[in-house]
Structures are given as structure tokens and as C-alpha cells.
Symmetry: D2
Subunit: 379 residues, 4 copies
Amino acid sequence: MTEEIGVGMVGHAFMGAVHSHAWRSVHRFFDVPLTPRLAVLGGRDAVRTKEAATKYGWAAAETDWRALVARDDVGIVDICTPGDTHAEIALAALAAGKHVLCEKPLANTVAEAEAMAAAAAEAATRGVRSMVAFNYRRVPAIALARKLVAEGRIGEIRHVRAVYLQDWLSDPESPMTWRLRREHAGSGALGDLGAHIVDAAQYVTGDLITGVSGTTETFVRSRPDGDGRGEVTVDDAAVFLARFSSGALGTFEATRYALGRKNSMRLEVNGTRGSLAFDFESMNELSVFSEDDGSAAGFRRLLVTEPDHPYVGAWWPPGHLIGYEHTFTHEVADFLTAIGGDVDPAPSFADGLRVQRVLAAVEESAGQQSTWTTIGETR
Amino acid sequence: MTEEIGVGMVGHAFMGAVHSHAWRSVHRFFDVPLTPRLAVLGGRDAVRTKEAATKYGWAAAETDWRALVARDDVGIVDICTPGDTHAEIALAALAAGKHVLCEKPLANTVAEAEAMAAAAAEAATRGVRSMVAFNYRRVPAIALARKLVAEGRIGEIRHVRAVYLQDWLSDPESPMTWRLRREHAGSGALGDLGAHIVDAAQYVTGDLITGVSGTTETFVRSRPDGDGRGEVTVDDAAVFLARFSSGALGTFEATRYALGRKNSMRLEVNGTRGSLAFDFESMNELSVFSEDDGSAAGFRRLLVTEPDHPYVGAWWPPGHLIGYEHTFTHEVADFLTAIGGDVDPAPSFADGLRVQRVLAAVEESAGQQSTWTTIGETR
Amino acid sequence: MTEEIGVGMVGHAFMGAVHSHAWRSVHRFFDVPLTPRLAVLGGRDAVRTKEAATKYGWAAAETDWRALVARDDVGIVDICTPGDTHAEIALAALAAGKHVLCEKPLANTVAEAEAMAAAAAEAATRGVRSMVAFNYRRVPAIALARKLVAEGRIGEIRHVRAVYLQDWLSDPESPMTWRLRREHAGSGALGDLGAHIVDAAQYVTGDLITGVSGTTETFVRSRPDGDGRGEVTVDDAAVFLARFSSGALGTFEATRYALGRKNSMRLEVNGTRGSLAFDFESMNELSVFSEDDGSAAGFRRLLVTEPDHPYVGAWWPPGHLIGYEHTFTHEVADFLTAIGGDVDPAPSFADGLRVQRVLAAVEESAGQQSTWTTIGETR
Amino acid sequence: MTEEIGVGMVGHAFMGAVHSHAWRSVHRFFDVPLTPRLAVLGGRDAVRTKEAATKYGWAAAETDWRALVARDDVGIVDICTPGDTHAEIALAALAAGKHVLCEKPLANTVAEAEAMAAAAAEAATRGVRSMVAFNYRRVPAIALARKLVAEGRIGEIRHVRAVYLQDWLSDPESPMTWRLRREHAGSGALGDLGAHIVDAAQYVTGDLITGVSGTTETFVRSRPDGDGRGEVTVDDAAVFLARFSSGALGTFEATRYALGRKNSMRLEVNGTRGSLAFDFESMNELSVFSEDDGSAAGFRRLLVTEPDHPYVGAWWPPGHLIGYEHTFTHEVADFLTAIGGDVDPAPSFADGLRVQRVLAAVEESAGQQSTWTTIGETR
């Protein structure tokens, strides 16, 4: 086993459970230069945090994230809290010289994200690394898609078509959560789901979105909340058109009202030499069209489980699927590898900021009759 | 056999071939109140029109569409020409008391479409019928989709997602055609493909689009044309956001650059009780999700080949597919039934005008930085 | 238009309707050397035959098939009756010098099929042509599959997996039909459905089945029949293992009890260089795997609608599907082409006999504890 | 955390890696009555076993399985070795009062399996539990399939169609392994893959196979082996027909030569009320047809990721897939739950014996011209 590095993780809900699994398992499958030690779990409620620490295998529990950040046995701070706390924790951790892994979206505002990206850039000069957790980049099929584009096998990109469809709000009587309050979540489907497809589209194409036209909607404006009803202050759905710097056209949709679509993050790319199609509900598959196939051309359903596919060599023989949490194991492996190799991991906080700017432009356009809105600054 | 009615058809290219088949075959499968007689085929070139008439089974050929319209043995005029000639022929035919079936898009401009809709409304008072040939309404799966929505099985509509993807212009060196010249085609992918999905989306949901935000693109601005190069004066692709009067959100895309997608006219509808998904490349199938299925819910792949599905009873046993041209046979059957029953068929010229207004609004929005543009008048 | 040839067709049920359409339409789409004239329709009931003749476009009707065969205006006899009458009609027609198209299975017994094959061979020496109507050979995807195998792109065949699944007998109370009586139908699912997959498997692989082990089952032994119940005297389902002369292994299943499968004639072929998969419920598609695709290999879903795919050039642009009846139009086109070109069409009566021998071997094996049973003679 | 129980595992290849992960992770996701402690890993080579123990998280390593079995800190013996060693280890462990989890197939011969089943039955009287590792029973979709059958939603079963297709031997020059030697593996595709589909078919239907007719094939009889070539002494593929005690017909195929099918373990069941279809290459999905859906019936693609689906509640929100190794985590959870609850887990060694008898009957039939062979004794 390699040298250990202590991890302090803040937050123990859904993301906390998945990240815990990744930190526990990564060195069992990947040759990482540092072996993570699950040093301390942070949470607001002492009892529940202690229980979660025991369940997920953390050595200690803390209710004060500042104490967690300050601990000598913590080399990495992993931020799994709602978006409104990301900036504060990340800035403190970077200042304290801790490597930071931060859940997406990077922040709730562009201003926060700018501060974080600046701090990350400064920290990098001190050898302190940071990464934003766009885990879908670590789906083997998506990493393979990027590789095929980068190799030129898709040609010049003409179209990107990305949707992220869920349905857990279809029922107008499903209750309030923090995700439906702007002060905690920043936005609704846009930041939660739209952030993933913006990042994935830019990652796969290797290109940046330069402008958008969008609109958002809140279909159900109040929901059961305890004994009364709470006001929904975020979008239920967001749709937008986009252009990439290459001239490619994009269409994007994020919604929590697509009944029957549980987690359908779909990405299609059409180029001058080939096309790609992906759906996270079949996450081990990538559909690839190549005009080189001539009259025997058709979309190939690749099972992305071959040993030479990205990340796959660490797992099982061909045809044996992996699941959702593997993307986090891959993410953590890449992060540890970057720390160990003293290089900056990707996606950086600057990448997270870039996504944030796109989301902000969508909201700005939506507030101005969908007028085309450019993304000011490129990374 | 029922009483005969003479048909005069103008145009004998792709649409002419398909319409000929429909006129020849309809009474072999459907109990229509009038039996079509293929009286006369119109075309500009005498030799080629005569050849086509023989091949497709027309009794005579005419090079002057005015002569065709004027013939006593013509009771129906079927217009299969490019969009720039629709208005003139249709107006003359309606004035002459002939029933008119007109290919889509109804016209190249809103003004033409308005004149046609007005003439059709006036002619209807004289018992003269008219219909625009949105044949995709006659795909059994799409007709079934409308029925499911109308029965309330999908609930209140939240989302419509419609694309029409082709790839025949992917190659920048594929040559010029009339479809790439604004003066003949009116627009590019927008009018050719976008018209179909706008009509289908409105038909299936039973709802109207009230506003759009869009952008268009011409990826390849000149193409080989004879010995030189011709300028492409229409859009290669059009993307737009839409709202329906119910408040549902729509996203639309029409393109001829989606490599590998040959004729992928896809429609998805998400409602509060169920969802629908369709792809014309699998035109005999409809995917239906119903929340009534509880924890055994999933998208059902219906093979729309049961005798009680729309139009299917006229054809083969369950599981025996039908093809593209059947939609035209259905269209002609419906048209003859309406004429025989002395009622107005659908889609009317007013429906065609409605689609035209949406397309015009997309172009207007595209010319104004994608600013939201409302569709002035409902049908 | 080319020279006419008169067609006399016996039988006007399901197959009669489909064949009528093919005879009416073939020359509108294919350049055939002879134009069929729908001269006379044969049936047992005078009134119903006359009605069918009118509906389907036949010039005359006959209740005596011998009179139909004897007519001077009949050059082709098309046999669409149940299997127990095939031999008698075909032998008379061939003797009378008429070209014969005979529905499958060729006959109800090997002895009948032998007599028919012998008569066809003799007639061929006189320029009289005969063909058995295995229409699935004329599915473009199946014809393309054969082409890919013949070109060596699949390599040496290891496995064939063929099922033909229907479900119209799932309900034990669905009524008796002639198809459930041995004296008319010869056998049940075996002859009706099994015949198709045996022929298709041999056609696609270009190889012959040399032995089988099988078993059959009649799940429901009596069914409603008028006021009483009738005894089912054929198999409801047949399953068998097979070996091809190349050494490939085959598994076959024919059933009318596969609930939810309406017409699922599926064929999979695995070779040393590639694999093929087909399902008639998606008849415009062929799935092709090629090991040449390397780590980007996956089953390609080919839409078999390209102009250079078999038969497709006669129809619509890429992505516009064809349906079930098109296979009969192709069949008739091939038959007319063979007659006009003075060559023997395929599949010949000898091919039909070969299939019959396989079916008989399955029944023999089933009657002998599934003991392996070889097919005596190759074509 | 609950009381600990020490685990000693023999074997550290593919199965060892997967089992290790399950033992390490099970209590992080499931509320198990005993928390496994990874006490000792057994292997033949001291260095490699020690390395594997470190990598997979085992506290100690042993090269003598008898010593491992004898250790006081071992309460469970987990057998992950080739089939020729199962009986000896299992018998010793049961005799020593250790609970035993044994990889499939249970043994290489019926005689061994009989001895093991007898020993397990005897041990159970002492409270010592045993289970055979048919992990596919723990695929949520397969467990759900069994539940649907048990609830009567599929009705009376008519057909079972099961294949297990892999392609890793397609290349005739891929090298020898222990899996291709009868003395180690017992049989080839039959025992390795066929065992899974026999067990799954019996598990899902809740029914037993009573007789079979089969044949086997070795396509490539020698393969590269070190500097020379080794003889392949097992089957490359096995195909067989079967009958269940209910009268249902089954077809089975196991092969390593289905090019392009990486791990396609497919199961289809047709009943009088509904049908099921599953493919392990899409292991999070189950297709369900229900005749109750009427004319809106079609195969529903269920994403088996809902909290009320078997095992799923322990994992992620709907639409977030799980992978191959999860089936082992489920298996271990069930085993620990049975031990803690003092009840016999399933599948028992008797179930494993039952599968062994079916496999032996297939080989017996194959050796006797495929003659129907009954399975002597039911469990």
C-alpha cells in the first residue's frame, strides 16, 4: 500500500454516501499513489453525523467544518454539502493548504465561483490541488466519447443535443426539499441537472459554449412543507439553445418533470465524419456512427466494458457492467493521481466557473425574453 | 366499387410517386365513398410527364397546370410541386370548384398561406374541400399518441421535445437542389422538416404553440451547381424553444446535418400522468409510459399493428409492419371520406397557415437575437 | 410498359390480398420484363370470390381451379390456398405449361413435395418456371445478411439461432381454424412458422441443415368450434436443435404462444469474423457486428433503407421504411424477372422440398424421444 | 455495527476479487446481523496470495486451505477456486462447523455434488449454513422477474428461452486456460455458463426441469499453450431442449463463440398472462409484457432501480444503475442474514446438485444421439 492521506468530508447525505464508498474502495481497484484514510466526517447534527461516520467507515466525526478543515490528519477536504456553503468551506480549506474536491455546481453564484477559481489558482502555485466533482466525465462511455472526438473520428461538430430528464417532481404533491429553495440550491433543474450536461457537452466536444438563449419554468409554485406549504423559488425546468465556439449548434434541456425518465442524461453529437449518442440510463453503452462504415453504416451500440476503454481495465471482464458509484471511484482515483503526481486535476474550479457562467447566462436570457446572451470570458 | 372521382395531380417527383401509389391503392384497402380515377398528371416537361404518367398509372398527361385544373374529368387537384407554386395552383383549383390536396408546407410565406386559408374557407361554403398533406398525422403510432392524450391518459402536458434529423447535407460537397434556394423552397430544414414536427406536436397534444425563440444556421454556404457553385440561401438547421397555450415547454430542432440519422422524426411528450415517445425510423412503434403501472412501470414499446389501432385494421395481422407510403394512403382515404361525407377534412389550410405562422415566428426571432416572438393569432 | 402476362391466382384470404397488391403494383416500382395482368381469381364460393376479385382488382373470378389453370389468358398460376391443395394445383398448372408461384410450405408431406419438385424440374426443361413463396428472403435486411455472409464478412459460421414467435393462440379459448387441423395444414407452428426460419437460416448462411433433434407440443388440445369444441391436431410449438453441413450449431423455435411477440421472426448468426441479428418486428433493421471495428466494435443497427441495399432502390429515400407487403412485391418482381430472362427463379420447389425434409425430420425426431435425425438428401 | 464474523476465502482470481469487494462493503449498504471481518485469504502461491490479501484488504494469508478452514477466527469459508476443489474444501469446512459459501457450479460431478448436498443437509441440523453462489439470482431484475411469476402476473408458463452468450473463445488462437480442461473445470460453456441459465430459469419460474435433449460441440480442439499447444477437453458450446414439470418448453444455449456478445445472459419467459425478457448486458432492465394492458400493451422496459424493487433500496435513487459486483454484495447480505437469522439460505447445495443433474443429463443426452434424458430426482 502506498502512503496514506487523510480525508475530511463535509456532508453525509446522498453525495456523502457515494463519496465514502469511493474513498474506501479506490485503492482496491486502482494503483493510486496515495491511499486515502477516512479520517473525519463533518455534519451539523452530532448524533446523525456519528451514525453516518460509523456506517460509512469514517474514523471520527465533527460538527464544525472549520475544525474539520483545521485537523492535522486531514490532507484532503471533500465538500458534499448544498451549494450555498461551497465557497466558504473551499476557500478556508485552500487557505489551510488542503487539497479540495468540491461537489457540483461549484457555487450558487458566479461571484462565488470566481472567488473559488481565483483561490484555486493561487493555491495551485503552492501545490494545493482542487477539483470540481463533475463525475459524469468519469463515465467510461463519456470519456470514450471525448477520446473519439479528440481523435477526429467525429469530424467537425455540427450539433450537440443534450437533455437531463428526471421525473421526481412530476407529482405536484411531492414535498419541499432544500433543492427547491433558491437560497440553498442557487437554482433548480438548471444548476442540478443543467450543470452536468453543460460540462459534459463541453468536455466531450472539447469546445466551449459562447452564447445562449433560454427560458425557464416553475410548473408547481408551492408544495407541501411540514404542516403547511412552501414556496418553490427555483426553476422546475430549463431549456436553452447554445452555440459553441466552433459554430456548432446546441440544444439543452433540464427538467424534473419528464415522467418515466428516471435519470436520463442524454448526449448526442453530430459531426461531419460521425455521430455519438449516450444515455445515462444505459451508462455502459455508447452509440457511435461512422461514415467510414459505408453502406454497412449504422449506429454501433458499443458496450464500453473492454479493457482498453477508459477506467474499465480496473474492473471486470467484458460485458460485466459497472454502476453509478463507479464514476466517483474514478473521480477520486484521478484526484489522488493528480495530487501524487503534483499536477492540476481536471475539471478545475475554473472549469466549474465556466459552467456557472453558462448557467447564469441562461437565467439572464430567460429574464430578458430569451434574448441571445454571450458568455463573456473563456477559460 | 363506389362512384368514381377524377384526380389531377401536379408534380411527379418523390411526392408524386408516393401520391400516385396512394390514389391507385386506397380503395383496395379502405371502404372509401369515392373511388379515385387517376385522370391526369401534370408536369412541366412533356416527355418526362408522359413517361411518369405511364409508369404511375395516370390516364393522361398535361404540361399546363391551368389546363389540368380546368378539365371536366378532374374533381380533385393534388398539388405535389415545390412550395412557390402552391398558392397559385390551389387558388385556381378552389375557384374552379375542385377539391384540393396540397403538399406541405402549405406555402412559402405567411401571406400566401393566409390567402389560401381564406380561399379554402370560402370554398368550403360551396362544398369544396381542401386539406394540407401533413402525412405524419396518418402514422398509426402518431394518431394513437393523439388519442391517448385526448383520452387524458398522459395528463396535463409539461414537455414536448421534437426533432427531425436527416443527414443528406452532411457532406459539404453534395450538390445544390431547389430545396436549397429560398425562392423555391421558402426555407430549408425549417420548412421542410420543422413544418412536420410543429404540426405533429400540435396535433398530438391538441394544443397550439403561442411563442418561440429560435436561431438558424447555414453551415455550408455554397455547393457544387453544374460546372460552378451555387449559393445556399436557406437554413441548414433550425432550433427553437416554444411554449404551448397550456404552459407546456417545447424544444424543436430540424436539421439535415445529423450524420447517421436518416429520417429521425422524433417526438416526446411528458405529462402529469404519462409520457410518449416516437421515432419515425421505427414508425410502427410507440413508447408509452403510464404512472398507473406503479412500480412495474416502464416505457412500453407498443407495436402499433393491432386491428383496433388507427388505420391498422385495413392492413395485415398484428406484427406485420407497414411503411412510409401507407401514410399517404391513409391521407387520401381520409380526404375521400371527408369529400364523400361532405365535411371538412383535417388538417385544413387554416392548420397549414398556423404552422406557417410558427415557422415565420422562428425566422423572425432568429433575426432578432432569438428574442421571444409570439404567434399572433390562433386558429 | 412491357409485354403483359396474365395471372390466375387461387385463394383470396390473407395471402391472396397480399399477392394481389404485389401483382397490381410491381411494375410501378420495378423494371420488370413482363407486366402482370390480374386475369382471374379463383375461390370456392362464387359470391365471395367475385367480391374479392372486384376489391383486389381481378378481371374475372372462377370457382373451379381447373378451369382457371386451363384459361388461355393465364400464363402464371399463383397458389395461395392451404397446404393440402398445393400439390394438386401445382402439378396441373405445370403440366399445362403455366409458370407457378406456390405459397409455403410447399406441401403438407415430403411425398407431395417430392412430386412437386420432380414436376418443376421437368417443367423447367420446357421453360416453365416455378418458385416457392418464402417471401422473407425478400426482406432487404435478410437479403443483405446473406450478402454479408457470402462476402465472407461474418467468417465461418459457428451458431445460428432462429425463433419465430407469435402469440395468437395464447388464449386457450381462441377458436379453431383450418391452421389447427392436420389434414389441412399439415402441421402447426412447425410448418407455418418453422418453415420460414429453416429457409431463412439456410438462405442467409448459404448452408444446409444436416440433422435435427426436436420436440413438439400441443398446449391446448381442444378449442371452441362453432357450437362445440374441435380437436387441435397440430403442434402449438416446436423446438429443435440442428447442425449445418459446415458444423455450425443451430437452435430453432416456432410457437404461437409467445405472449407479446406478434411476429417476431428473429435470426442471429455468429461467425468467426462477425455476427448478425435480425427481428422481423423491426424488419427495416439489421444488426451487424464486425470484429474489424476493434475496440470501437459493437452491434451496428443498420437501417436497411439505403439505395444500394437489396430491393431498396425501387422505393423511398433513406430512412423511409417499407412494410410487410413489400416482400411480396419483391418476390413477384424476381419471379417475373426470371420468367422474362428464361432462368430458374429461387427458391425453387427443390428448396421447398429441402425445407419439408427438415420439418419432417423434426417430427420424426419428436416421435422418437428427440433422437438425432439426419436429413437424407441434399439439394 | 453488529457482531463480527470472520471470513476465510480460498481463491483470489476474478471471483476472489469480486467476493472481497462484497465482504468489505456489504455492511456499508445493508443492515446485516453480522459484520464480516476479512480474516484470511487462501491461495497456493505465498507471494501472490500475500499481495492479493493486501490489495483486497484481508488481514492474513494462508497457502494451506486446511489451515484456513481450521482457524478459530474463521466462521465462514468462501470457496472461490476451480470446480475440482469445491467438494473437498466444502466437506472439510462443513465438518469443522464453518458456514460455507461455494462458487458455482457446485462441483464437477454429480457424485461430488451429492456428497456436498448430503453434508450440507447434515450440517444444517447443527446450525451450519451453506449456499451456492448463483449470483444472478441477486440481480434485482431477475429477483423481480421471479416475484412477478410468483404473484401470478405471468400466468401459466409456456416457454422459457435462455441463452448465455460470450465470445472470448471466438479467436481460435486465444490461449489455453484451466477452464478448457475437463479435469479442472468439469465441463466448458455448459458448466460455466449453462449452470447460470439453468439455475436462473428454475429460479424465475419456480419450476424444475424434468428432462432434456442436448448436444455439445468443441469447435477448436487445440489451442496455444506455453510453447506448444494444449488439447481442449471441454465443450465450447452446448445447446439443449428442456421440459419443466409444468409442461413448459425450454430452449437453452451456452457458448463462448457468439462474437459480439460479451456477457449476454438472456432469459425470456412466456406465460398465459404475460411475458418477461432480460439480458444481463442491460442488467438494470426487465422487459415485461402484460395482457392486462389491452390494446396499449407492449413490452415495458422497466428500469429496475426503484426503491421497492429487490435489493435496490440499499443503493441509489431511481435511474442510477448498479453493476456486476453488486450481485455479490446482495448474495453476501442474504447469506449473512440467513446465518444471523438461523435459517437456511438459498440457493442451497441441494439446488446446486439439482443444476448439476441437469448438466449431467445434457452431457448424457449428447452422448446418446440427443435422446431425451430425464432428470431422476427432484429436490
